[in-house]
Amino acid sequence: MPVLKGKELRIVGFLCNWCSYGGADTAGVGRFTQPTDLRIIRVPCSGRIDPLFIIKTLMNGADGVLVSGCHPRDCHYAEGNFYARRRLEVLHRFLPILGFEPGRFEYTWVSASEGQRWQQVVTRFTEQIHKLGPAPKIAGPEASKTLRQMEAAL
Amino acid sequence: MSCALSYAYYPGCSSTGTSVEYDMSSRAICAALDIKLSDVPDWSCCGSTPAHTVDHTLSSALSARNLSQVASMGLTAAVTPCPSCLSNLRTAQHRMKNDSFRQKVSKLLDRPADITVETKSVLQILVEDCGVDRIRAKVTRPLTGLTVAAYYGCIMNRPAEIMNFDDREHPMAMDNIMAALGATVVPFPLKVECCGASFGIPRRDVVMRLSGKLLDTAKEMGAMALVTACPLCQMNLDMRQEQINSANGSQHHMPIFYFTQLMGLAFGLSEKELGIDKLCVNPRTVIDALGMEGQPL
């Protein structure tokens, strides 16, 4: 029952607590209407995001993953988003090899004051995922095997 | 001096009539500066103000026809002396970046519209592509002693997003050229104020008021002559100067040059080929004061 059949797709967001999560809050406070597909997981810093989280999320059946952190040089922890960017760029190049359409994953920056920007990001990304349609799902046992291979690869 | 500047040249309707001297002098100074101008074959009217007041697709189609003529020449850059033509061409290009608009325009045309051609004014290529230094190097008879005010008109630089040239409130292109020719340029505060545009016929009173103010201010600033870059401005200020005097009770006798004419004079070109004799307000005394030996008008 997780997704509303025919209406929503499964989109997961990983947001850093300081900037983007705050930006999503600001969007809420401003009542900036957004599509309802996205579910947000709060992490302290975009540097905490392990590329494996994204792969596992996609393998577990998500149709899109959105990561958002602080603007470059504006990281609450000084360098977290710098590491995040490096890792996630590598991931972006890996995705097609792993069989995921690259358009299903995106990394962006939104600060705590940018409610309107957050609204735009979510709206655009959701549209993009709806254009791609539901992701092909991987079956159980094979999935964990592939997953192990990937873990080794990363 | 090696110079690979080469452009398609779109003269605009007034060049065949009321601003023939602008056309002549533009060609003459470009030749002197080794700038090659090739006439756009069988060019047609850009539609000017009347077309865009009727409809934007019609206006754009009239411009687009000329743009495809340029493209068919195999040239990528076109120049026109007239800021009004330029504004129409550029606005059309800007609007046609929108696909659905371009399709609407194309429906009116024999050939599909081309938006890749780069369009500029003669003034713009002179300061941006050729450069003031090269102009200065060409001067053989400096305009020392001539005090001018440079008047750009309202649409040479506006709107900035479309015209993308010089400063929208205080353009300096002509000021810099005039200074390079050795003239003294007065700071003219009404550089971009409208002269009355094409209202000369249906509402002459408006032109009398607006152009009159330009003349008054230029005189107040101590200018001996005004220098322009727009056929419509030049016509309102020059051809209608007498009418302005009688309407406003003023006593102006201020020559209104095209900047290209003054460039030509400074380059040592003949008055004949610059069309100096076509000006309505006789510039004789001003030119004579420069100590140039000119042919009598």
Binding site: M1, P2, L4, K7, E8, R10, V12, N17, W18, C19, G22, A24, D25, A27, G28, V29, T33, P35, T36, R39, I40, I41, R42, V43, P44, C45, G47, R48, I49, D50, F53, K56, T57, N60, G61, A62, C70, R73, D74, H76, Y77, A78, E79, G80, Y83, S111, A112, S113, Q119, K137, G140 | D167, R168, E169, H170, P187, P189, L190, T217, E220
Partner: protein, 652 residues
Amino acid sequence: MKIGVFVCHCGSNIEGTVDTAAVAAAAREFPGVAFATDTMYTCSEPGQEEIVTAIKEQQLDGVVVASCTPRMHEQTFRRTVERAGLNRYLFEMANIREHVSWIGKDREANTNKAIDLVRMSAAKLLHNRPLLSKKFEINKRVLIIGGGVAGIQAALDCAEGGLQVVLVEKTSSIGGKMAKLDKTFPTVDCSSCILGPRMVDVAQHPNITLHAYSEIDEVSGYVGNFEVKVKKKATYVDWKKCTGCGVCMTKCPSRKATDYFNEGIGKTTAINIPFPQAIPKKAKIDADFCMKLQKGKCGICEKICPTGCIDYSQQDEYVTEKVGAIIAATGFDLFDWTVYGEYGAGRYPDVITSLQYERMLSASGPTGGHIKRPSDGREPKNVVFIQCVGSRDKSVGRPYCTGFCCMYTAKQAILTKDHLPESRSYVFYMDIRATGKNYDEFTRRAMEEYDAKYIRGRVSMIYPKGDRLLVRGADTLMGTQVELDADLVVLAVGAQAAAGANQLAEKLRISYDSYGFYMEGHPKLKPVETNTAGVYLAGSCQGPKDIPSSVSQGSAAAAKVLGLFSKDKLESDPQVSMVDIKRCIGCGKCMKTCPFGAIKEIDFRGMKKAEVIETICQGCGICTSTCPQGAVQLQHFTDNQILSEVNALCQF
């Protein structure tokens, strides 16, 4: 684990578009959930009591509250569960207001989404462990950056409260903009008469160390224990010896130096004390204009100085200050109005800024308090004020209202009449923003008693006409274009973030908005806090503010610091990383990536291992994502916890 779920209505804020009862019903089916209910206002006293009672009666050992953003009430509810005897980390929050009810109107989709969010929280909670904080020592000194009126107020309040204060000011004197003002609204009392004594207090207070002509070079550490490297810029004058006698200024032959204090109205000497009431009252040499420093010639000041304090070889100096809290009070700068070609872009000498006009009005200013046209020194008859220059203007990227320029314009119109009774003031305005106590009465007085002519409309052009200026604007109430002959035009130039504000924010690890103003912790409830523990804000660096508001914030920030320092030890946040020594192979990758140097190498039975220094770790989790072994885990955000949320959500 026995989990209790509380789904908040927030009045109609949530209930309006989310069926909270259905969310609670769905939650009862989730693994571990023993109890679920919906409640009206969870954060209210009865709401919290309901949680406490449920924990006790149902023997819950974990709580999920589905309500607003955790940035709002996570602390509140952690304390609630603690009151009921649970560890505060056995609590999770699902954000169904900001992230659900406020951004969508579809009740079905919202309810469904809220259920998902609760499912995720409950799944994570199953993996939560109790965490305990450690106590650590703090350094009860405070560093204040910026010596404007806000910084001065904060410094004095902290110092009076018994704290050691370090005040760092970029220019060679404290005072900020207020020191440049002539009189202040709405009382029209003399600015330096009220600020001057405060500045002297700063100089004389035994608890305050002032580093003027200094800037922040580096900041490291964390709340309670910051280390700040301060760059003391070379003044070429030994300030220990300088008495501020000013003899050097009378003899310095270089008299064309930019007079920053007077906003460029007039010039000053290369060696100068910016203004007579400067604190510290010390001379500095402006190297750009000193003939000795530029060309090796002159040296007059060295010869003439009675205390022999000139030192042409002086270099920048660095000092490190250890403090437990930081207050940023760096104020604002004026918008660069020369982008407005239609106002002359700086071409016309008789078009000046409001701050230049303040200097001209000031009796201690460059004109001795006489209003004179910069072009010819003549007294103006018609003074035209233009408001909202570089404010409320999207075309120059400044859509916000500066907030105080309506008021100071009214003040300047009043003062103009006082100085020149024959003169007449005209004010072009769009709206009059005068919302403080006695403010609207004040702007009305400018019109009613001082005969200032207010014209509603913007100005589109200023240009010289004869020796006057022609101002062309609109009177939108009359519905016409209007023209005015002006002798002097004063632009009410808006405020923007101080130069260098962004760089400083990055050093302090605080956020700023798209205009460079610093972000407060919460727009209503945490106006002087930032999201970085131990860093506070005061005054216009957070957004344009008049003096009363800047001073209030200075005091508020001081109160926050005094509150922070009221404990002898601070509790560390236990959301830190921990190394599983069995899994760690000592590769050292985590140590290299930790931005805070919080991981050290230890020797464990002859093997290299990593260990986190809890009091230094800030809990970013960068190390956790770096470690190839999964050996270092950020508590409360472990791989398992995050993946349990993923799994709750994506179950094929």
